[in-house]
């Protein structure tokens, strides 16, 4: 199969998944019993103007498929409708809060990569030894610490007790924001380190037992070179696959961390919008997270053969 056909196939699958996901996000509203106007205006005074405005805005008098098409056309142009709590465009409300979340996710992702890869590599090079077992136990324990538990423990120890870091808010300016995001990103990273760590370890262990590694060693290559060029490079595939799964997990878990640290990101916005019955915002954030997840995984899927040519040659080569 040529590269072009493969990429086209992946792209088709990507678009189909996104299309089906958009159906689920849009038509979920129709699962709620009762009429849509009162659903969208829950908890608010259904003044005649408000009813008329919501009806016109969502085309609630149109057949459902027409409503979906209108909504989808808007979404494709970046128009997610209007927020009921802020009386602002949803895209604006989300746009204001996106940078904090993205920075948080990037910082946490960097920590996960550094700690996870180091732990996995160290464990695999000492497999069966005490160090390996300690790393594995450590990873298992970290993996059992949910983000909100990590958050409150970090707040208690480093913000309240020691006073090293702020416990609330996302700060002003770039450096101050990073300073404010140190504890939140640690809290976010903790539970995911285990994924990267364990996959790195098992992938490395598998490669270490391979014949080509023995050959490289017996040819007199330095151990460092063998591990870098022959073991680690061949272990990247599974690590990348896991990283793709991480994206959605980090974006969702960031809402927990943001809530704990009072950060103005899209996670806090999501929870707040659920609380204040602002369904258009909820719909938009859910769709964004799902899209991010699907797209990142498709990219990893497409890139894999370049990083690991054996994947292109077919499953048999592994």
């Amino acid at each position: 199969m040529t590269t072009l056909r493969r990429v086209a196939g992946k792209l088709g699958a990507l678009l189909l998944t996104l299309f089906l996901a958009s159906l689920l996000v849009f038509f979920s509203r129709f699962l709620v019993p009762g009429d849509p106007v009162s659903f969208l205006l829950r908890g608010r005074k259904p003044s005649p103007e408000a009813v008329a405005q919501v009806t016109a805005q969502y085309g609630l008098d149109l057949p459902p498929w027409q409503q979906y098409l209108n909504w989808l056309t808007g979404v494709l142009q970046g128009d997610f409708g209007r927020s009921l709590q802020y009386r602002q465009d949803v895209s604006e409300v989300i746009g204001d809060r996106l940078p904090v979340t993205l920075l948080l996710v990037v910082m946490a992702g960097t920590m996960i990569a550094i700690v996870g890869l180091t732990a996995g590599i160290v464990a695999s090079l000492n497999r069966g030894k005490v160090l390996d077992r300690s790393v594995l136990i450590g990873l298992t324990v970290l993996g059992a610490i949910p983000s909100f538990v990590g958050s409150i423990v970090l707040i208690a120890v480093f913000a309240v007790q020691l006073g090293w870091f702020p416990s609330f808010g996302s700060g002003e300016g770039f450096l101050d924001t990073i300073y404010h995001l140190v504890l939140p990103s640690i809290a976010l990273a903790i539970v995911f380190v285990v994924l990267v760590g364990k996959v790195t370890r098992s992938s490395m262990v598998e490669q270490l037992g391979r014949e080509h590694v023995e050959v490289a060693t017996s040819r007199g290559l330095k151990r460092g070179t063998v591990i870098r060029r022959h073991v680690f490079r061949n272990s990247i595939g599974p690590i990348l696959t896991v990283s793709g799964v991480l994206v959605a997990g980090l974006l969702v878990a960031s809402s927990i961390v943001e809530a704990a640290f009072g950060l103005a990101g899209i996670g806090t916005l999501l929870v707040q919008s659920v609380d204040r019955l602002d369904f258009p915002v909820v719909q938009a954030i859910v769709l964004l997270i799902v899209t991010a997840f699907v797209v990142v995984n498709a990219i990893i899927d497409v890139l894999e053969p370049w990083i690991d040519p054996r994947a292109a040659a077919g499953a048999g080569a592994r």
Binding site: A13, L16, T17, L20, A21, L24, V25, S28, R29, V32, G128, R133, T140, V141, G143, A144, P146, S147, F148, V149, I152, V153, I155, A156, V160, Q161, F168, V199, V205, E206, L208, G209, R210, E211, E214, P238, T241, V242, A248, G249, L251, V252, A253, S255, I256, A259, A260, L270, V271, S273, V274, D275, L277, F279, V282, V286, I289, V290, F293, V294
Partner: protein
Amino acid sequence: MTTPTMAMKVLRAPRVRRSSTTFLVSAVFLGVVTLAAIFAPLVAPYPPNQVDLLNVQAGPSPAHWLGTDALGRDTLSRMIFGGRTALLAPLLVVVFSTTVGILLGLLAGWRGGWIDSVLGRIFDVIFAFPALLLAIMAVALFGKGLVAPIVAMSIAYAPFVARLTRSLIASERSRPYVAAYRVQGFGGAFIALRRVLPNVMPIVGAQSTLNFGYVLAELAALSFLGLGVQAPTADWGAMVNEAQAGLIGGYFLPALVPAIGIVLVVVAVNVIGEELSDRIGGEIPA
């Protein structure tokens, strides 16, 4: 090519021996926590919502082993009662998702063909929705509480069970014993349900055990966000949420006790789930 498998075997041996004690400890711990939750009214020293405004944010004492919260409620009693929702809700999710997942996985793996492709496509779409996100969306639609999230989480986890069951069934289907039943004239449904399914159940069970830990943590997070169990009902996640305000004032105990409780239970569940899958010897596909 025997070297790698040999290496894996050597590597596995000490792991099983190591976890035997931890497995026992975990099982006993989970048993005690479960029994305490079931018999909460008999075990707990105080009613979970008994307010004592003269004795708020108290440290550990003989009267209150784990102290009291901002309303003077006994933290230990609330932990014991809180175990009810904290353990029952994930149990329901695991039962629902495992039942549905096994049936769909059996259908896809045994029949193959277009049923398999259609189900695979549906699973792909559900995989794109992280469980917690689906639960949050369910709350946005149907209101706060645990009913909608339990249904949403069951839907989110069923495809994991289904995909595992499907791959196990598909590889089992080509084994000689299945053909042996076929030539003896046994029906497909009988072979699939009574002869093949029991062989894959242990691995699926181990995966479901691990799922229980994930679901428990996610539902606790939902209550922590204020979207799940509502005050004043005692629930571990909700307790952390309520105690959050006291953190800044230096009152750590009411938040740390439920938080650590959740971590201990999740560790115990993971230890049991991992050892179960180790004993069966089947690698759980990621």
